[in-house]
Structures are given as structure tokens and as C-alpha cells.
């Protein structure tokens, strides 16, 4: 069930990537990622699964260009996301674990944030933000400040903010982990629908096997320090029995 992605058709390509925090070679050095190779095909929904502290968020930050790898090569759409940071404006969007809404901006102003960076004219910006808020069921809350919204609503605003820029690559770091199961389930379904409808490449970090199975069409299980312990791809045709086998295998890998 493992498929191979060549560097040519990869949206994201990590080659021998390592990240060491602290001064290398000293006792204080902490190797969060160690020689990771990973390819993500364009249009793929990859779920990265692993226990807390296995380096998932570090990989996330490396792909996002927010952290520079200590060694190795990272390419997103053929470019280095850290060195060519500005060239990814409007091409990559991130949904974080917590909503990270600017408290001094209303819901619609928060959704407009990425569009402002793209120099979109104000009227068009407002229409686009309004559209995405409505799509995510937040019509009527445009002028509410974040403190007046529930956790689920705030996270929906942050999803709207990411989708509004129409970026091809979406990075999501456990975006539903702080929500109750019912809200998380609903948002997950909405998220998968939006990604599929809009043909995005998505990397979704999670520590929940069920969430990974629900969201991804490929799952990569990481072991500390961020090495691939299991890599499996599946599609709509993968039967329930087979999915249960995958779930069981992932459980074994995580427990090992």
C-alpha cells in the first residue's frame, strides 16, 4: 500500500533533513529530526502521526519555512521555503493548533489578513473574506472580536483565513485537538471537503489515529527523533477491513 513519489512530481520534498536544537555536539543539543526523507505528491493529503515530542511540529515548521534545518534539503514546489521565504506569499497557508487570531481584529479582519499581504483591493478582500466566513457557517459573526466567539468558531475563522488566500499548499498542526469531539468531527469533515474541492496539497499533523484515517489519503507514522516508522497510502476504495488493519498496524508501530 506504500506508494512512491518521485522528486519531480513532489509538492514537498525533504532529503536527509535533520534539526538539532541547542549547540551541536554538546550535552545541551537536542536532535528533533534525524535524516528524514519525505516526498508529498501534489494534491495529496498527508497525515503525519506520532507521539508527543517525536518532532512532528519541528517538521511542520521546517516545511513552513519558519525553522531552518540544521542539515539536509527542503524543497516546496521546487524552492527552499526558508531561504526563499517571501516567494511563498499566497502559496502556502497554515492552520495552527490554536486559532492564533489577532485579538484586536474582528473575525472578518482576521480572515482578510493573508489577503492584505497579497495586496488584494479592499472591496475584493472583504467579499472573499465574507464568502469564506459564510462557507464555514460564520455568517453574521463578521464583526465579532475573537473573545466573543467560541473555541470552535475561532478555529473556523482560522480555517477561513487559511483557505481565503487560495494557497495550493495547506499545513495544519493538530488544528482540532483543542475542540470537543463533536465540533472537531464536523470541522474535520468540512476541512476534507474543502481540501478536495479546491485541489489542495495538505500536510496534517495529528496524534490521533482516527483523525489521520479520516483525513489523510496517506499516513506517515513518525518515531522519535522524527524518523519514518510506517508509511501507508489508501483511497476511497480501501475497505473498512483494510482500514482496520492499518489502524491496528499503526497502533503496533506507535506502541513499539
Amino acid at each position: 500500500m506504500t506508494d512512491t513519489v518521485t522528486p519531480d512530481d513532489a509538492a514537498i520534498h525533504l532529503d536527509q533533513v535533520s534539526k538539532v536544537f541547542g549547540k551541536a555536539g554538546t550535552d545541551a543539543a537536542y536532535r528533533a529530526v534525524d535524516g528524514l526523507n519525505l516526498e508529498v505528491r501534489s494534491g495529496q493529503m498527508l497525515a503525519i502521526l506520532g507521539k508527543t515530542g517525536c518532532g512532528k511540529s519541528t517538521i511542520f515548521n521546517v516545511i513552513a519555512g519558519l525553522t531552518e534545518p540544521t542539515s539536509g534539503t527542503v524543497r516546496v514546489s521546487g524552492r527552499d521555503p526558508f531561504a526563499d521565504f517571501d516567494s511563498f506569499r499566497g502559496k502556502m497557508a497554515i492552520v495552527f493548533q490554536n486559532d492564533r487570531l489577532l485579538p484586536w481584529r474582528t473575525a472578518i479582519q482576521n480572515v482578510e489578513l493573508g489577503l492584505e499581504m497579497l495586496e488584494m483591493p479592499s472591496a475584493e478582500r472583504r467579499t472573499t473574506a465574507q464568502l469564506w466566513l459564510s462557507r464555514l457557517g460564520l455568517g453574521g459573526h463578521e464583526n465579532d472580536y475573537p473573545h466573543a466567539l467560541s473555541g470552535g468558531m475561532r478555529q473556523r475563522v482560522s480555517i477561513a483565513r487559511a483557505f481565503a488566500t487560495n494557497a495550493n499548499i495547506l499545513l495544519c498542526d493538530e488544528p482540532f485537538s483543542a475542540l470537543d469531539e463533536s465540533t472537531a468531527g464536523r470541522l474535520r469533515a468540512e476541512f476534507v471537503r474543502l481540501v478536495k474541492e479546491n485541489g489542495k496539497t495538505a500536510v496534517f499533523i495529528t496524534h490521533s489515529i482516527s483523525e489521520a484515517l479520516e483525513i489523510g489519503d496517506r499516513i506517515v507514522v513518525l518515531k522519535r527523533p522524527a524518523m519514518i516508522a510506517y508509511d501507508v497510502s489508501f483511497d476511497g476504495g480501501t475497505g473498512r477491513e483494510q482500514r482496520e488493519l492499518i489502524r491496528s498496524r499503526i497502533g503496533d508501530v506507535l506502541a513499539a
Binding site: D86, T106, L113, Y145, A148
Partner: protein, 199 residues
């Protein structure tokens, strides 16, 4: 009175601009921080009267002397307050804004300015009180107008009512500006949630 007000506002504006720039340099470079922090701490310990003496020795123009005294006495507080505000910005929010790849100007407009505004307003409130006290001392040294000069005249005339009247004018000015800053705070921070239970 107008001369005193202009001296206070000019001194505060000068200290705020210089202090803001120094704070930006300090937050960007550890070496600059290590170099400037002890100097500014030292400046904080220098009495306003010493700056008056230094200004008289170093400079000639009365207005420049007063401006220099005002800037030097309020500069350390402004710098440290802006520095604290810059360092206290949420790293999470900063990363979120960075993820949209803003230009420096946009980063400042959408993130840095609104994030540090509460601390800047507080810094202005605190420094306004300090500046109104220092300006009187500064005006004692050669100014031919202003509250400090007038207080000196009242002292020579032994006129308590006059001294009180000039003092109250300065106090009213401080209260009016404090009130204006409070109104700005109320308008700028209406996004803040208000708890029904007080601290």
C-alpha cells in the same frame, strides 16, 4: 504656559522616537542590547538636576538645553518600556503573521504596532508625569518664559497664590492629556474582553 506645554510634548516626542529606535535595535541585536542596557540603566540613576548642569556646560541655546534635559530624563524609561513591549509580543501570533510572508511595513502595521500600543500608551502616561516635573526644573535655568520661570518669579515676590496658580495650570494640563490618553485607550482596546469579576 504654552511654552511649557510645547517643551513637554517636544521632549516626550523626541525621547519616544529615539527610545523606540534604540529598543528596535536592542531587540534585533544582542550585542547592541548588551552595550546600551547598562548605559541606559546608568542614565536612569542620574538626577534631573545633573542633566541641567550638563546642559548648561555643553550647550548654548536655552530651548535646546531644555529639549536635551527633557529627552535625557525620559529616554531610559521610554526605551525600556518599548523594549519590554517588543519582547512581550506573542510568539504564536508573530509566527502566524510570518506564515503569510508579510513585508516589514505590513508586519509593523498588522502585528507590531497594535501589539505594543497598550504599553506605549502606558509609557506616555508615566513619562508625562515625569516630564511635567522635570520641565519646571529645566526652565529654571535661563528660560524667559514657562511655568518654571514663573515659579521663580513668584518665589522672588514671595507670592504663594501666584506659585499655586502656576502649579495648578501645569497639573490641569497633565490631567487633560492623561484624560485624552485614557480616551484613546478606551477606543483602541474595545476588543478586549471584560470580566464581570474585578481583580
Amino acid at each position: 504656559m504654552l511654552a511649557t506645554i510645547l517643551r513637554i510634548l517636544a521632549g516626550l516626542a523626541g525621547a519616544f522616537i529615539v527610545g523606540g529606535l534604540l529598543a528596535l535595535l536592542m531587540v534585533r541585536s544582542r550585542a547592541v542590547d548588551n552595550f546600551l542596557s547598562p548605559i541606559l540603566t546608568l542614565f536612569q540613576g542620574i538626577p534631573a538636576l545633573s542633566w541641567v548642569v550638563f546642559a548648561i556646560i555643553w550647550f548654548h541655546g536655552v530651548e535646546f538645553r531644555i529639549f536635551f534635559i527633557m529627552v535625557m530624563t525620559t529616554l531610559p524609561a521610554f526605551t525600556f518600556q518599548v523594549l519590554g513591549a517588543l519582547r512581550g509580543m506573542s510568539r504564536d501570533l508573530m509566527e502566524m503573521v510570518f506564515s503569510f510572508r508579510p513585508t516589514r511595513m505590513k508586519l509593523f502595521r498588522v502585528m507590531i504596532a497594535p501589539a505594543i500600543l497598550p504599553d506605549i500608551l502606558t509609557a506616555w502616561k508615566v513619562n508625562l508625569g515625569n516630564a511635567s516635573r522635570v520641565v519646571v526644573v529645566a526652565e529654571l535655568v535661563g528660560a524667559t518664559g514657562g511655568v518654571g520661570y514663573q515659579l521663580l518669579q513668584q518665589q522672588q515676590l514671595f507670592d504663594m497664590a501666584g506659585a499655586l496658580a502656576w502649579t495648578l495650570q501645569l497639573v490641569f494640563f497633565v490631567l487633560i492629556v492623561q484624560g485624552a490618553l485614557t480616551l484613546i485607550e478606551k477606543s483602541a482596546f474595545r476588543y478586549r474582553a471584560v470580566s464581570e469579576r474585578a481583580i
